[in-house]
């Protein structure tokens, strides 16, 4: 979802120590918990070294073993459907030898210093598909450490050799004498023991929980209406507000006539801001009715005439100049000059909205001496900081309560909504829940950037690519969100999927130009950089295969001798998909291959193009190597999900501007894939015990080029800009 990945240069820069060389003293401390249990405080590896230097030991995750045998984990990550509330406890439960149901999770309060995600450089956020990646080593080590201490405490009590005891199902057993004691009874004793310096993690063949399809812990509440999302917060006396923001970004309110709105039953107050008007009411029905009754005159400001074409033209112009060099291998210009054949293409990807099913919302109670917030956020400290700024309060006077997230996809890494809600709440006496209508949510999103790409390649006489040239322009989301990551004109998200390709390309040159579009804010969107780059590189690779008159799978395989794991997933996907077997007319298979978010993935999409140009994705076969598959059922679910998310973008996703206004508003004009359009998705997981890779987003970036390549296979028409334009595919 965001920044770097394990293998990227920036993450490596943060990886100051390898995981197997942790200083145990600095990584983990143990002590007594309030109430007499055992408390382990962990400092996840790769943590921001400045913080460590200042504090010596900076724990960012906590495990409590309580006297009633409950294991409580305080988690820096949030659940937004990706299954993290199950896969993270699995890591602890495995080594601690407890039942998964014994582990209870608590939301971490906002504190970037304590809960910073190590792979995000100490920023407390859930994104970039990396919760399991960041937790994999330290949480297993913590579990093993606690188990060792509990065993030692039992052995001491029984005056026996710890080696004669073993841990099982939340108890320590002494086989010879048949004695057993529960962890809860040992926790206080264990807390007084020294932390062992060397604990051994289980061998892969001894794993009992990791690698099994564990039931998700959050499912029961999500089928009976009791799960509580941010939008469900109801502090006593809460009023409901909804709002109209300037339809043009950067515009202002000129005049408001609220006479009719105030007359609506249940409407309590109209709040006017510089660039928005809110209606506060007893319930959302009255607030919406009041909003419809408002007469607002806007000053559209400097972007009153902006259109998507203007943005695209500016990006196109930018790519006429050279940019920051993201990767250079060999000598592309020499190789291009020698090439037997040259292929060129221009690709573009559109702005996209997140359209989380839970519309943006934030509940706020501003008091003179403090501010309380109820929200579902992927980045709590940002909410706290934005709220403090908007409220004019010090950080420690802002309390944030996090909730389940009804869809994140990067949208809830931003705190614009919280800031807006606080601006409104400052004028309201008592708590107010600000709920965006779907139209406001889509028209005032922060969008997946528009990118513009120029590709060229040189092929030798056998059709093999001897030169690869890629230049692109667009927004750097990471450069805005975390400026230190933007260095020398580059950031690791914008380049992921464009550089370090799995293919052996002897001469390769990649340049990026940061161009921030005027009048439209951009943000992370499920798989971000790769959502753009993999579409471009994998579409273009297909074009090269076609130019060389070679099979797209065979063409790729010939470039993969140095990437055995990539080669394996491509072969597996092709085999399971029946690659090469005949298909009816206007049905085609398309392939894609990627290594992003530290996972290898190949998709084969089977697509049918009707005579009128309508595209239906019939079947998707995915092969994935994400290292150790912690929860295979979650991996399958995430790929099924990411495929639907990507096909939605491939077939429907397009946010356009006209006269500065976003033209799409609700699910009639910004369409989602529905059950009748959803393909069968088969997921094949390569089993190994490599460190786990990210799984939440990879499926999205991989599917779009597979679909477009399949359209080419079905029709011979190469589309280079999503979403699919059925008119271009109409049979003459």
């Amino acid at each position: 979802m965001i920044p770097d990945r394990l293998s990227s240069r920036v993450a490596r820069a943060f990886a100051t120590r390898p995981t197997n060389d942790l200083s145990r003293r600095r990584f983990l401390q143990a002590g007594a918990a309030a109430g007499g249990g055992l408390m382990l405080s962990l400092s996840l590896p790769f943590a921001n070294s400045d913080v460590e230097a200042a504090d010596g030991f900076a724990p960012n995750a906590f495990i409590r073993i309580e006297r009633d045998d409950q294991i409580v984990l305080t988690m820096p990550y949030v659940e937004m459907g990706q299954g993290t509330y199950t896969s993270i406890p699995m890591l602890i439960a495995e080594e601690l030898e407890v039942d998964l149901n014994q582990v209870r999770l608590e939301h971490a309060p906002p504190n970037a210093k304590l809960y910073g995600n190590p792979l995000l450089g100490g920023i407390q956020a859930t994104g970039n598909s990396n919760a399991v990646r960041a937790s994999w080593q330290p949480l297993r080590q913590a579990g093993a450490t606690a188990r060792t201490m509990l065993v030692a405490a039992a052995a001491k009590r029984w005056k026996v050799d710890p080696a004669s005891c073993r841990a099982q199902a939340g108890e320590v057993l002494h086989a010879r004498t048949g004695r057993r004691v529960k962890y809860g009874d040992l926790a206080a004793d264990a807390a007084r023991l020294p932390v062992p310096q060397n604990v051994t993690l289980k061998r892969p063949q001894d794993l009992k929980l990791i690698g099994t399809p564990a039931k998700r812990l959050d499912t029961p509440a999500k089928v009976n209406g009791t799960a509580v999302y941010g939008i469900d917060a109801r502090p006593p006396g809460v009023k409901i507000a909804t709002l109209a923001q300037s339809p043009v970004f950067g515009g202002r309110v000129k005049r408001v006539d609220d006479t009719a709105a105030k007359a609506v039953k249940g409407v309590r107050q109209i709040v006017r801001l510089d660039d928005a008007v809110a209606v506060v009411a007893d319930h959302m029905g009255a607030a919406k009715k009041g909003l419809a009754a408002l007469v607002i005159e806007w000053d559209d400001g400097p972007h009153a005439k902006l259109s998507t074409d203007d943005v695209a033209a500016e990006l196109e112009k930018a790519t006429l100049n050279s940019g920051a060099v993201a990767q250079n291998i060999g000598n592309v210009s020499e190789a291009m000059a020698r090439a037997a054949r040259k292929v060129e293409a221009i690709y573009q990807v559109p702005f996209l909205a997140h359209a989380t099913m839970e519309p943006m919302n934030c509940t706020v109670h501003v008091r003179k001496d403090g501010c309380e917030i109820w929200i579902g956020s992927q980045a709590m400290p940002r909410v706290q900081a934005a709220a403090a700024k908007a409220a004019g309060l010090p950080l420690d006077k802002v309390v944030v309560h996090n909730h389940l997230i009804g869809g994140g996809f990067g949208r809830r890494l931003e705190a614009d909504g919280a800031a807006r809600a606080v601006e409104i709440a400052k004028q309201v006496d008592g708590p107010v829940k600000v709920v965006w209508t779907r139209e406001e949510d889509i028209q005032h999103d922060m969008y997946r950037p528009y990118w513009f790409d120029r590709m060229s390649a040189g092929l030798d006489e056998k059709g093999k690519p001897v030169a690869w040239n890629h230049r692109y322009a667009g927004s750097s989301v990471l450069g805005r969100w975390a400026p230190p990551f933007f260095k020398d004109g580059l950031d690791p998200d914008t380049t992921e999927g464009a550089i370090d390709l799995v293919y052996a390309l002897p001469n390769m040159h990649v340049e990026y130009l940061r161009v921030e579009p005027p009048g439209i804010p951009t943000a992370f969107w499920r798989s971000v950089g790769p959502s753009h780059n993999v579409f471009v590189t994998e579409s273009f690779m297909d074009e090269l295969a076609a130019a060389a008159k070679q099979d797209p799978v065979a063409y790729r395989l010939a470039l993969l001798d140095k990437s055995p794991r990539a080669k394996a997933v491509l072969e597996l996907a092709a085999q399971k998909a029946g690659w090469g077997q005949p298909l009816p007319e206007r049905v085609g298979r398309g392939v894609s291959l990627q290594f992003v978010f530290a996972s290898y993935m190949a998709h084969v999409a089977e697509v049918e193009v009707a005579k009128d140009g309508a595209v239906r994705v019939r079947r998707v076969v995915c092969a994935v190597d994400c290292g150790t598959a912690v929860n295979p059922d979650t991996i399958q679910a995430q790929i099924q999900s990411a495929v639907v998310f990507g096909i939605t973008a491939a077939l429907h996703g397009d946010i356009t501007l006209k006269n500065g206004r976003v033209e799409q508003a609700n699910f009639d004009t910004y369409q989602m894939l529905r059950i009748n359009e959803a393909p069968a998705v088969e997921v094949h997981i390569v089993r190994n015990f490599e460190p786990p890779g990210g799984m939440g987003e990879a499926g999205t970036s991989a599917i779009v080029p597979a679909v477009f390549n399949a359209i080419f296979a079905a029709t011979g028409k190469r589309l280079r800009k999503p979403p699919v334009d059925p008119a271009a595919l109409k049979q003459a």
Binding site: M80, G81, Q82, G83, K215, R216, D218, T219, P220, K222, V223, N224, G225, T226, A227, V228, Y229, I231, D232, I240, V264, K265, G266, D282, H283, M284, G285, A286, K288, K289, T356, M357, E358, P359, L404, I405, G406, G407, V435, R438, D633, A637, Q640, S641, A642, V643, V644, F645, T648, N666, F667, D668, M672, L673, R674, I675, N676, A678, A680, V681
Partner: protein
Amino acid sequence: MAIAIKVNGTDRTVDVDGDTPLLWVLRDVLGMTGTKFGCGMALCGACTVHIDGIATRSCITPIDSIGRSAITTIEAIGTTPAGAKIQKAWVDREVPQCGYCQSGQIMSAAALLASNPNPTDADIDDAMSGNICRCGTYLRIREAIKQATQSAAQGGRQ
């Protein structure tokens, strides 16, 4: 104006305009937050409830149009045979991800199962294509409905 409705078997009286959508009465007036807001235009199905057993989008259903009809929400659907089977199948098949749309999905599926104990894939498409899931749990929704169908069919034979 006081309006009387019957929600999950209980009589309730609310004082709102007659054109107020049922969704907001449930969520904001009665505090029953299991029913979700997604679009406000009957485009996404997140707000689906049953009115006399028929799947209905509460976001466009004026409160004064309901009369004495029985409103059933996600909070009580487990007390109906079809609802209980659907909920069990949803858990068994691990359908939810973010879960936000699932109240509506379950209400649509429960109405389908109650009226058609043996739906075909096309029947499932018809009944469920009004419910958007941004997490893309459609495959598992289909599997879960089929599982619930089988258990319903077995129940019918016994």
